[in-house]
Symmetry: D3
Subunit: 238 residues, 6 copies
């Protein structure tokens, strides 16, 4: 069961509204890597999870993300306020908010795309879901960082830094939950892989030009790697 | 530039077609974690990437996934063949393939949803993209594992094991590319986080019942964690 | 801020799982008129609302719907359990759940369509939003009624009746909130309508055949109505 | 069967084209609450309806909305005309219209989202469909009102007022059709609700802060209401 | 303006309902190549068209397709009737129709995907739109042909043959409208192409194997063609 | 199997970046008629095709379009470069690229809509697929023509002309492949049409006004046509 408390998780002080920046903020409200996506991905993973400890973790963080959704929604509304007051040139920036929403926010991203569950990654396998969540938190962190870099308002920056910091706290928690599973870094599920193909590196992009050149790194040399050049012109598998 | 060679990356031997299983296979053809999603996610990340070595890696694996798409598409067509030959009871299983496609496959998932770029995670930040890719490979591995567990045909199983193995090879390569970046496991982008919030664990889901109970693990104890209970009823941030 | 308690809002007792019925239940989980749609429609309306009383109402019911989402999700998981245990013939019923989700639910409807914010109706005008909500509750009531009529399991029926009842309770509350606004039944917003057109009834569908015949009722006779026949062939407006 | 007459339902006089306003108008052409949505919602409800009188009503209004679609499409084209004539700075406002459509309109909303049947509410139950239609007309009325408030052109305003007025005429007709059904305001379908839960008001959002405070109104006091405070922390149902 | 007549364009006689076939029929109701797509593609092209003759043609056929939509919808409803009468095993075939629609049809395809304007091809250039329409009619013809091949009911077959025939009549009309434009078969728009590249055939798929072998035909030999082999490994353009 | 070569198919020289024009270019990257749509439509048709010559043709052109995707993606990135460098006023033009993508492109169109397989037309019938492809190339040609007309940069224009030219080369090849099939221009599939309906022209849009007037042309006179006026008011079929 859920309960709501009529307070924001973090105090939001906004100076002059900046509607163009408000539109950008919608990425973290109804966008692909935003707070609704985080809240629902973790909460539904939690509903499905049968490992009691990690189920608790998923519900704790899933619930916190709902509270973040409120913070970012409140910030966005403050910046988008000029769209409510009948100023035509502002309203033209985002007719979905000005005309359809009457100045209120909806679950769309910065360009008016409706939020969709296609954004979510829910696999029903805990070592997979935790990796999806670590990646999701990394995407959220960099998105907040870019928003902060485009933000002129100190109060907004402060709230965005809080939200950005929490994503790293979540990344730390998901990482600890993954490491404590006692599965190796390449162990996913139960089925063994085929030894003859797991260490082959297929060099499928070759030549040199505007799009770069062939390189060497730990992803294709050392570590047991066997490089197969131009597999398309030779037998790659069998 | 791309070049195509009229061979499959892995020999496909299918015995009796199994159209219901063929529908399941479409998850890896036009589904959220399938081969088209992998091919396009890595190739577009590669197009955007300015780190020469990892750009090469992204193009190598992105191109390989296009070859996987052909293998899985060929497998699916063989299993879905009965939908082409006018057998009404088979055709009813999937009118999109039987009636719209004339027995041919399209870029839909097992339930007829069209493939969408909303499945992709492309951030323009290499330490983020690599994490998204590691998670994507983990999802692909578990999906292949489940398909293999539902598969009765030895030739199909063999090809699926090859594809499953390659996902782990890619996971190893992306992991090596991430580790060699010389960024710590919680370092994403450049902006520093707020020290007073990064080690707080908000216990937002409490009580005990059908949905579990509060637990302790490395994700909320030790490691510098400070637990805040019921933050909704207290001040969480400021 | 949100808080989660690890109990379901209503006890769920499921006898033998019925996976085909479980798929139907997904309509109320990730479907167009389901609990997620209700929770988010009311909560985002509440975030935007500036009328303190009705803002409180919207948040109360929006939060309750999140608790309903957990109940229906738990019911669906119990009925879909056979999809997790590797039974191929059951898994073929829903590869999205069996293969992609590993037996766990996701935010899709009964036919695998991802939930989308296009389902939501959020207008930023309280007398409009309340009408949208009354209609949404009416749709939810009839959907639960149909599910109950297709349900063989007494424990499931009991939980669905609880949820169905709550929709009527919400309908009553939204209705009271609308009536107490002191706006007439045809008063929406502020702009006056054009008197010469508001009582005209355009008879745009005429004749008699397989598709019915012209009729008379309070929607086109009495009440000040003036009927215009075949306006397409005459001047309708000016 | 349908027949088309080569006249607009209402004369459209547009002075200087205003392409930014033209984009806003697209909300009523290919948007969520626009004329195509209205036309198809009512017409498909009418196709399904087995009550002869209300079937006729649904077809009359569904057909009128098709004629509205032409009016709003013609208005939008006139305002968007500068996008056809090769003026780059105008074309940048909406490449979908300028580049893809060659200056012609398509069934997209103001921000380029394609129209989708997810906008429609069709339940196959007349007392439900009529409520959905009343809500739809209320949304259309307020959308036209906002467009008029942002409109500088007298001829456009006049046509929009005609369309806005017709929405209220439809709302009156749908309301009369609902009231004449002899079902009470809370009677939906056939299945009775559970008496012990239908008058409970769950106070799920409590406390006081930036997001408001607990309030009392006819939606939670009087009228037989019994308030349950903080149901998440107590047993809500059983 | 539109007018509706309460008759079907073609008499529909259905014997025993066949709900699985009814689902297939939905492809021509709310599917990608169905009657709604045809009606809206041609009607919106017609709204945009400034060539008076072809504008009339587009409106004639666009309006006819609306009448086809009614025929196919009526056929589908008759076949889907068992989903309305509470038979659980039938209802499980399509919960969107049985549970959400109460037995009525909606604008979805055979697998429940909502109709979307992404299906439409509207370019604002008459010689392009006519080619899109010829292709659309060809797709509609083959879809009807396949439906007829899967159909056991003589009355349904007869109505489908009528609809199929009309698609060829439309194809003939669009073809005549294209040919009478006095533009060559490769003349699109106004801008001239680059002579040095227009007759080059790039042989980008080579080799021999499960996926075929290199071939010769009028598409790459004679007709002024100059074949460039393996352009990826050589300079293709400059 | 696919192989990638690290060169572009055509040299791209971009002078001053023009981010607004870069957004327009996205139509040919991730838009409805763009290069990804072409590449996947032809390649999947090729995978399904059982006519060896035309299968080779489809794979040749499908692969070439992947190389075009790289060219247009590279052009777009160069023009969108100012969105990467932290300039807020540029970033506001497209937050999806600036904030979500860090300056990198994704598979969206000019207005941020995600690419979807709903854009594709794949029928499994070669005389139908070739017509869909001819229409697709015509749409691509006119889209490039309009982009060129809005383009100020000589290097970009040159590359766009190359791509535009190649679409006509493809149109020529698909046309030759269609003509050499020895099927008449109205022969689609195998089922014969009904002689009594194939030459009737239904005049469903009549009258005279702002929307035009009735006209005569080769699409409704001569050629065996029999015109039926106002079929809605008379029996059209039987």
């Amino acid at each position: 069961m859920y309960h709501h408390v009529k307070k924001l998780m973090y105090t939001v002080n906004v100076g002059d509204p900046d509607p163009r920046f408000g539109k950008m903020l919608l990425e973290q409200f109804g966008g692909a890597n935003g707070e609704l996506a985080a809240a629902l991905q973790y909460s539904i993973q939690g509903l499905n999870c049968e490992d009691p400890g990690r189920k608790d973790l998923l519900m704790d963080i899933g619930t916190e993300e709902l509270s973040h959704l409120e913070v970012i929604g409140s910030l966005a509304r403050m910046h988008l306020k000029p769209l409510k007051e009948g100023d035509k040139s502002e309203a033209e920036q985002d007719p979905l908010i000005a005309v359809v929403g009457g100045g209120g926010v909806s679950l769309n991203n910065s360009q008016g795309n409706p939020w969709t569950a296609d954004y979510l990654k829910i696999s029903g396998q805990i070592e997979v879901d935790l990796r999806s969540n670590i990646a999701a938190e990394a995407r959220a962190k960099i998105t907040y960082e870019r928003l902060i870099n485009y933000c002129d308002c100190p109060g907004t920056k402060d709230a965005l830094k809080f939200l950005m910091t929490r994503e790293i706290a979540h990344m730390k928690a998901f990482g600890a939950a993954l490491e404590s599973l006692s599965k190796g870094p390449l162990e996913i599920g139960e089925l063994p892989v085929m030894d003859e193909y797991v260490n082959k590196y297929f060099n499928d992009s070759t030549g040199e030009g505007e799009l770069g050149e062939d390189t060497t790194g730990p992803w294709n040399s050392g570590n047991g790697w066997e490089v197969v050049n131009n597999p398309g012109f030779d037998s790659a598998g069998k």
